[in-house]
Amino acid sequence: MDSEIIKLHEMLIKKEITSQELIKESLAKSHEVQEKCNAFVTILDDALAPEVTDDYLSGIPFGIKDNYATKGILSTGSSNTLKNYVPFFDATAVCNLKNHGAVAVNKTALDEFGMGGTGTTCHTGAVKNPWDQKRMAGGSSAGSATAVALGVYPYALGSDTGDSIRKPAAFCGIVGYKPTYGMISRYGLFPFASSMDTCGVLTRTVKDAAIVVDAMKGKDAKDLTSWDSKNINLYKSLDGQVKGKKLFYIKELVDMANYQNASDELIKHLKNFQEVIKKCQEIGLIVEEVSLDLTLLKAIPSVYVCLSCAEATSNMSNLTGIIFGPRGEGKTPEEIIMNHRTKGFSPLIKRRFVIGSYVLQKENQERYFLNAARLRRIIVDKIKELFKTYDGLILPVSTGVAPYLDGSKDELVKDDTAPLEEHLQIANFGGFPSITIPSGHIFSLPVGVNITGNCYDDANVLNIAYALEKSLGFKNLKQGGKHE
């Protein structure tokens, strides 16, 4: 299970191993990882081996974030409001993978409904970082990132509204890929903020990410925002030819001079980024520094909070306990709904609902919600303008390594490092394809770098990441630091 998809596929075809053996190994590891890191909501001990075909994914186990609807399998969104909910339909992305012969072995824990970046707000408890169990895995795709990093399987599904695939990937030392908005159908993904929610995948190599998304993607009549990508084959597009491709980074985010009292960790992190830039140049990429208005960059977290909380409070209004979920106590429908929601949601989510309702209120909407929408447009237009010149934006992920679990709070807006911490949200504002790959270690813990490109340019973005991955040498990085 430590191997890449293609390798596993070859072994299956050559009958060096059977699918049932892979599943057995994966399930055994699942239980180990559950013990160690609390990564799963459900382990599917009765998973059956499908037929092995020419399809790369056939017979190979994988994990599903628990905010994807899975037919006949508990799907909680890591929330008490759905702690007993068993859907009667599969999410389209899951369905597509099943059609490719992939076999799910577990449902992974997440920050409740994807609304968090720590992996600590799951109804089953906090997920622990595979490299150091005193630290967080990052969220919201915490269980998926942990399981992939510990070699439970080559890939697990994630979802990304702000950075929920790409940040835990960095904290766990793996690859996290959020494709262009609408490339993968969202039907059956429990919504957080519909205009930014994106299905995606966590893997240990860029190649695996390409193979999996090739199987997940496609226009779906059930999702009007999905688009036809028949002409795109991500895996076949990986040729490593990146000479002359142009990347830019944002000066204000990575310039040490912008951080007074910078921690040792941050300094090391930014130095790591400078080394990454050198590696880029070594393989023929042109990297340029671009200066953007710091005020605009500082607005990113607030814009994200306004828009995502507003959409979330509406999206989660269906959670009333009347049609599904545990029925609340009460004499009137209002009481029943109120008790279900009061009991079911964690305080963090309630805080976000309050913010979402507040910014949508008639008297506040213009000042907060609509201004946030305008700023989103301005930021996206600015980045799109740059994408006319550049193939992608390259930036470090987060401000360093995974934080400690104790003392960590999911604060909505932080200090002057906030823009560096939250810039991945730009990709969600614009629907841009965005991929995080491991870029090195600080204090023996992994850190990552992110590449974001223009909409529909996924193949190009992945190819650049593929070439850089090779050059950086952290491909198939697993906990403990051993890598190919």
Partner: protein, 473 residues
């Protein structure tokens, strides 16, 4: 009504549209007595569902927008109206707040032969909620209605009495029927109205009171009249301050309106653009395509019936009131039947037969083609009107084509020689009556006609019979 005051009325008319599927899901849109039979995961808002968009509903909504002389938006998109209620599975209704399918329109309508113009604020496309059935200590939710396409038409406050309001609503209902956009059947709960009423002594509008969810035009009429009287009575009693900006409901049993809540407590619906349905461009081609499919509307038909076919206003009104009648009428004309004759048949025997049997014209056995068999034979004087009516009933009773009763048995006798023989015999056998007739009892003429009919079993050509009698008497 006290003439000192002018009432001002605005209407919101919700009408369920006719379509194969619901507006944002693929579940069937049909009336069903079996609860929760026409539903999908989308209608029940299971986690992860996304809306689809029924483009036929969008086209029909645009069609209505065009008919109401509204401005159409450049793009169709939707908004979420957020509120919690047990009949609203998603916790929000998908509707159109920012860009309705139509704004700033008007519609001309008749009130007792006088043309009035109603101003349309907007018309928008949205989804219906589930329906609730309340029992003594529990309620049941039926999701069949959840997601059914609704058109909500909002007028400006441009009506001044209940007659105007009802005449407008009836005109709109007719348009819905004629265009097949809706069955507009209030018996199936397809039409619901909100009525806004205020009174004033001058040009300044008074306090507006809303009466919500009135489910028939009859009740709209009563609600308006009750509310006007209630407000005037309070004003006259010096208690106008008791008329509050509030929402009331109409109580059918007592014929009164009852306070529900104050407008001050109005819910903030926190509208925002629905992110799951991309903007849908309204192209010139699309508008052209929709314009081309608008059928002849009741008002145009009315003008044609009056001016081209010279029908009476009375007959015209009866025929256009119901699209089935008008379609039947026009089908008959297409078969080259004379308009006035068809109108007489339709507004006379046919409608009274339908009413007596309590059936619709669609269930009526005598199609225009079959009716033609009768009318043609009357026109060429083969049969009399009286005979025609008998054949009409017999044909309906036995479900056999009228022509079967015309060929032999009922053929009118127009053979002059034959009739002359009969008449001469009758005159010879009734000498006393002939003498009396010549002595001045001219009303005995009918007696002789009757005798001829008796002898011929009613088949004698009445015109010819009268001619011969006059000559021979």
């Amino acid at each position: 009504m006290n003439n000192k005051y002018q009432a001002t009325i605005g209407l919101e008319m919700h009408c369920e549209m006719k379509s194969n599927a619901k507006v944002f899901s693929h579940a069937k849109n049909a009336f069903s007595n079996l609860a929760n039979s026409n539903i999908s995961a989308i209608d029940l808002a299971f986690p992860g569902i996304l809306p689809t968009l029924n483009k036929e509903c969008v086209k029909k909504a645009l069609e209505m927008s065009i008919i109401l002389n509204c401005k159409q938006p450049k793009y169709i998109y939707f908004d979420r109206k957020n509120y919690y209620y047990p009949d609203l599975p998603k916790g929000y209704q998908i509707t159109q707040m920012h860009e309705p399918v139509g704004v700033d329109g008007f519609l001309e309508y008749d009130v007792n032969g006088e043309v009035h113009k109603a101003l349309i604020h907007d018309i928008h496309l949205e989804e219906d909620s589930a329906s609730l059935d309340h029992y003594s200590d529990y309620s049941l939710i039926n999701y069949n209605r959840a997601g059914v396409p609704l058109l909500e038409l909002v007028t400006e406050p441009c009506f001044h009495n209940a007659d105007e309001a009802i005449a407008f609503l009836e005109e709109v209902k007719r348009i819905y029927e004629y265009t097949d956009i809706s069955e507009a059947d209030s018996k199936k709960g397809q039409i619901r109205c909100d009525v806004n009423v205020s009174i004033s002594e001058d040009d300044t509008l008074g306090t507006k009171v809303e009466i919500k969810n009135v489910n028939s035009f009859g009740n709209v009429y009563e609600a308006i009249n009750y509310e006007i009287k209630r407000q005037i009575d309070l004003k006259e009693a010096g208690r106008y301050q008791e008329v509050e900006q509030e929402t009331r409901r109409f109580d059918e049993e007592t014929g009164t309106t009852i306070r529900m809540r104050s407008k001050v407590d109005a819910i903030d619906y926190k509208y925002f653009v629905e992110p799951n349905i991309p903007k849908y461009k309204v192209t010139d081609e699309l508008i052209k395509e929709i314009k081309a499919r608008i059928p002849t509307l009741p008002k145009e038909r009315k003008a044609k019936y009056l001016n081209e076919y010279h029908l009476s206003l009375y007959d015209t009104n009866i025929i256009i009131k119901n699209k089935d009648y008008a379609d039947y009428f026009e089908e008959c004309l297409a078969l080259k039947l004379p308009p006035k004759t068809v109108a007489n048949w339709l507004t006379g025997v046919i409608i009274s037969y339908l009413n007596k049997e309590i059936i619709t014209l669609k269930e009526f056995y005598l199609t225009p083609k079959l009716l033609k068999q009768i009318i043609d034979k009357v026109e060429d004087k083969t049969i009399s009107i009286k005979q025609a009516k008998e054949i009409f009933l017999k044909s309906l009773e036995e479900r056999k084509e009228p022509i079967t009763y015309i060929n032999s048995d009922n053929k009118q006798i127009s053979d002059k020689e034959y009739l002359l023989n009969i008449i001469m015999t009758i005159l010879a056998n009734n000498e006393a009556q002939v003498a009396a007739y010549h002595a001045g009892k001219t009303n005995l003429f009918d007696f002789f006609v009757g005798q001829v009919m008796k002898e011929t079993k009613g088949k004698a050509n009445p015109v010819l019979t009268k001619e011969i009698l006059q000559e021979k008497l």
